[in-house]
């Protein structure tokens, strides 16, 4: 006999943590399944207070680490500072039909422990973009459907930010904002004076600027991604998990790899899930009235593609639309400009701000019309140069040392984050020629940026240089380091929401059109990508879907 629960939540990251909290607080007995190990708040952040000089390699990854992390090593997040939060690529391979950098963390809390914490609402215009320009399916919801849920999740999570009254980036329920430094304030004022619709504001971040809900405030160490002993940034461990545990309704099971959603053909409902115990390899079934898939964009869709009900669903569960696996998106970035700032030699920043400035999207808004659709925002910061700077006029010795002990000039830089359109052919499928450590098929990823994104990148570079120039910045340098999907770690789509069951996987409640008691509330559900960091929207969608699911359960609709 399978163990029975009211609800099963698959995945314990940002979305899964929210699902567990909302469902348990509404009285459901919830089984929260996590494929990786447990990570206990504070206790399992072994490097949270380690000083740089206490790391033998001062953060750099070693050849031994690279061997098992051929993908994770491609970018900076995987380092010696907190290596155990990143997946072993050899145990969990995937197939890159085109290059796709897939950064994963298999442990309780998932990527909520290592995320960038930038938290922006989508605007009414973002939810209308697909309808207006005809790319992708229309969103089945509008901003007004989500506004109160943004309020709700911000109030609990604690988002610092400034109210700006911008139509393209709605204000939220903010904790006090962090500060722009003196140079950023100057540049922000000059941009505002020059442009009607471009604004440089302080980033909105899930870091607490004041104590909040029993959690400590940010100490400005900028070591967030190792785990925070003050609970000063939002994570499953610091926020949603303790709330769920407090209800007495939660069972958390780590080392539980969900391989499929089990299906009752007659009722057209999910029965529950099948799990492989990652340590013992034992296969276990759990049953529940409702299943929430929050395993991350690609992993939730993998589970659905792999849920074939012994062959009765050859294309996967809930895939009568044929859209499951399609419309994979990420943001494209890694291009922009930087330059030198003259003056302000009598000022310096104190503290290490785990945040920067943000310039919300202005392209193709306010009557602007470009040769591409959608747009981009910028993230950046100004700071004084450190010992890493090149001092061309000095050689070696005491003069060099004395100079490098002091700060250098102020510099400022910004990176564009651009919207990627949903393309049907950007998709994931099961690769049955390969298996992972647990004998499961792996994903094949076939995804690329196309002409619209490439045209947009020219503006991302030129506009950055133009704004810096307008702000009086000198010696401006533009850059384009190239952007492959996955790099932004904002993967979205593959089980999109929509009104029409023929062209979408989920309805307006994140509920599967085909299987009413299955909800998908992580990034898979996204119908378009906007250009804002997406996690806050997953939180709001998850809380909204959970409330709806419990209501439906009570009415006997599931």
């Amino acid at each position: 006999m399978a163990e029975k629960y009211d609800a099963i939540v698959v995945g314990s990251g940002i979305s899964g943590g929210w699902a567990a909290k909302e469902l348990t607080e509404r009285g459901l007995k919830v089984l929260l399944l996590e494929r990786g190990r447990n990570v206990e708040h504070v206790k399992d952040y072994p490097t949270a207070t380690t000083k740089t000089w206490e790391f033998p390699h001062r953060g750099r990854i070693t050849n031994a680490m690279k061997e098992r992390h051929p993908v994770q090593k491609r970018d900076y997040p995987y380092s010696e500072f907190a290596p155990d939060f990143w997946v072993d690529d050899l145990d969990c391979p995937y197939t890159e039909i085109k290059r796709f950098d897939w950064y994963r963390g298999f442990h309780v809390g998932g990527r909520s422990l290592m995320w960038g914490r930038q938290s922006y609402r989508w605007s009414p215009w973002d939810f209308e973009s697909n309808k207006n320009d005809g790319h992708g399916a229309d969103w089945p919801i509008r901003y007004d459907d989500l506004a109160k849920w943004y309020d709700y999740v911000e109030t609990f999570a604690g988002i610092s930010g400034s109210a700006e009254g911008l139509p393209q980036l709605p204000d939220g329920k903010f904790l006090p904002p962090m500060e722009l430094n003196v140079v950023e304030k100057d540049v922000a004022a000059r941009i505002k004076a020059k442009y009607d619709h471009r604004r440089m504001i302080i980033g909105r971040s899930a870091n607490l600027t004041v104590e909040h809900n029993g959690r400590g405030s940010c100490q400005y160490r900028n070591l967030c991604s190792r785990g925070c002993q003050f609970g000063a940034y939002f994570s499953t461990q610091s926020a949603t998990l303790p709330a769920a545990v407090a209800t007495g309704n939660l069972t958390l099971r780590p080392f539980s790899i969900v391989t499929e959603v089990t299906y009752d053909k007659d009722r057209k409902r999910a029965k529950g899930v099948r799990v492989i115990d990652a340590e013992t390899m034992q296969s276990i079934e759990y049953e529940a009235k409702v299943v929430f898939l929050c395993a991350s964009t690609l992993a939730s869709t993998f589970i659905l593609l792999n849920s074939v009900d012994s062959g009765s669903l050859p294309d996967g569960l809930g895939n009568t639309s044929g859209q499951l696996g399609r419309n994979l998106m990420d943001h494209h970035f890694r291009c922009g400009a930087s330059g030198d700032v003259e003056g302000y030699e009598d000022k310096i920043a104190f503290g290490r701000r785990a945040n920067g400035f943000y310039i919300p999207r202005y392209r193709n808004f306010f009557g602007d019309k470009r040769e591409y659709v959608r747009g981009f925002g910028y993230q950046g910061g100004a700071s004084r140069e450190g010992w890493q700077r090149e001092v061309a006029e000095l050689s070696i010795g005491a003069d060099l040392k004395n100079t490098l002990q002091e700060p250098g000039k102020w510099t400022i830089g910004m990176t564009g984050f651009g919207e990627m359109l949903p393309y049907e052919e950007n998709r994931i499928t099961l690769d049955k020629s390969k298996k992972d450590k647990w004998g499961q098929y792996v994903l094949a990823i076939d995804c690329e940026i196309k002409e619209n994104e490439k045209k947009m990148r020219k503006d991302m570079i030129n506009d950055a240089a133009e704004m810096l120039e307008a702000a009086g910045v000198k010696n401006i340098r533009t850059y384009d380091n190239g952007s492959y999907p996955g790099m932004a770690i904002h993967e979205m789509g593959t089980a999109r929401m929509g009104n029409d069951p023929k062209s979408s996987v989920l309805n307006k409640w994140n509920q599967m059109h085909d299987v009413k008691n299955v909800f998908v509330t992580d990034g898979s559900c996204m119908t378009s990508a906007a250009c804002q960091n997406p996690s806050l929207t997953y939180m709001a969608l998850t809380a909204r879907a959970a409330a709806y699911a419990v209501e439906s359960l009570k009415k006997g609709d599931l």
């Binding site: 750099r60 031994a64 000022k347």
Partner: protein, 195 residues
């Protein structure tokens, strides 16, 4: 990752390298144990003598002033660890060849081993080498490797300013700033560091 796994992974590496990587990571050794390790048989790909040479070179780049220099901060040990554990084999070879070139060039120019040169001789020899690496980097093609002395200098600055001495004495280290704000700065004040 536990110690046993680390050792297993390190042993895979050892079989693939010329000299055997006997790294700090593999041994879970702390910086406090470094002296003992060094006095025994060197570090990773580097003999005890080579680590001493690295320390003297580093100390010429970042000497003791009103704060301790690179040797006191064990920058030679640090460079040996990074090159042994993190560099690709081709870059390891380039680095070791460069170190040998440094020694032979020094002998050719000064008639002495670098270790036996006076502080002034070391300073003038390495200044020339620095001029040479700067000239090389000005004209080198993108795909050409870095000049070995550029690598030594970069590793020295990184190792020194992220060491405890560099971060807390040469720079100002505030472990828990508690706020982020713009403050006044006057010429001569140390920069903030520790990361």
């Amino acid at each position: 990752m536990n110690r046993r796994e680390l050792l297993q992974r390190a042993s895979v590496l050892v079989s693939g390298s010329i000299l055997g990587v006997d790294s700090l990571l593999a041994k879970n050794i702390s910086w406090d144990d470094m002296e003992a390790e060094l006095s025994a048989k060197g570090i990773g790909l580097f003999s005890k003598k080579q680590v001493q040479l690295l320390n003297e070179v580093a100390d010429t780049i970042i000497p003791t002033t009103d704060t301790p220099g690179a040797k006191a901060a064990k920058t030679g040990q640090f460079i040996a660890v990074i090159v042994s554990d993190c560099y690709e084999p081709a870059d390891q070879k380039r680095f070791l060849d460069g170190l040998a070139t440094l020694e032979s060039d020094c002998k050719a120019k000064t008639g002495k081993d670098f270790m036996k040169c006076s502080a002034q001789e070391r300073q003038s020899f390495l200044s020339e080498l620095d001029t040479a690496q700067k000239a090389y980097h000005k004209s080198k093609k993108k795909e050409d490797p870095a000049h070995y002395f550029r690598t030594i200098k970069d590793l020295t600055l990184w190792g020194y300013f992220t060491s405890e001495i560099g971060a807390t004495q040469a720079l100002r280290f505030v472990e828990y700033p508690g706020k982020y704000t713009t403050i006044d700065y006057k010429k001569g004040d140390r920069n903030f560091g520790g990361y």
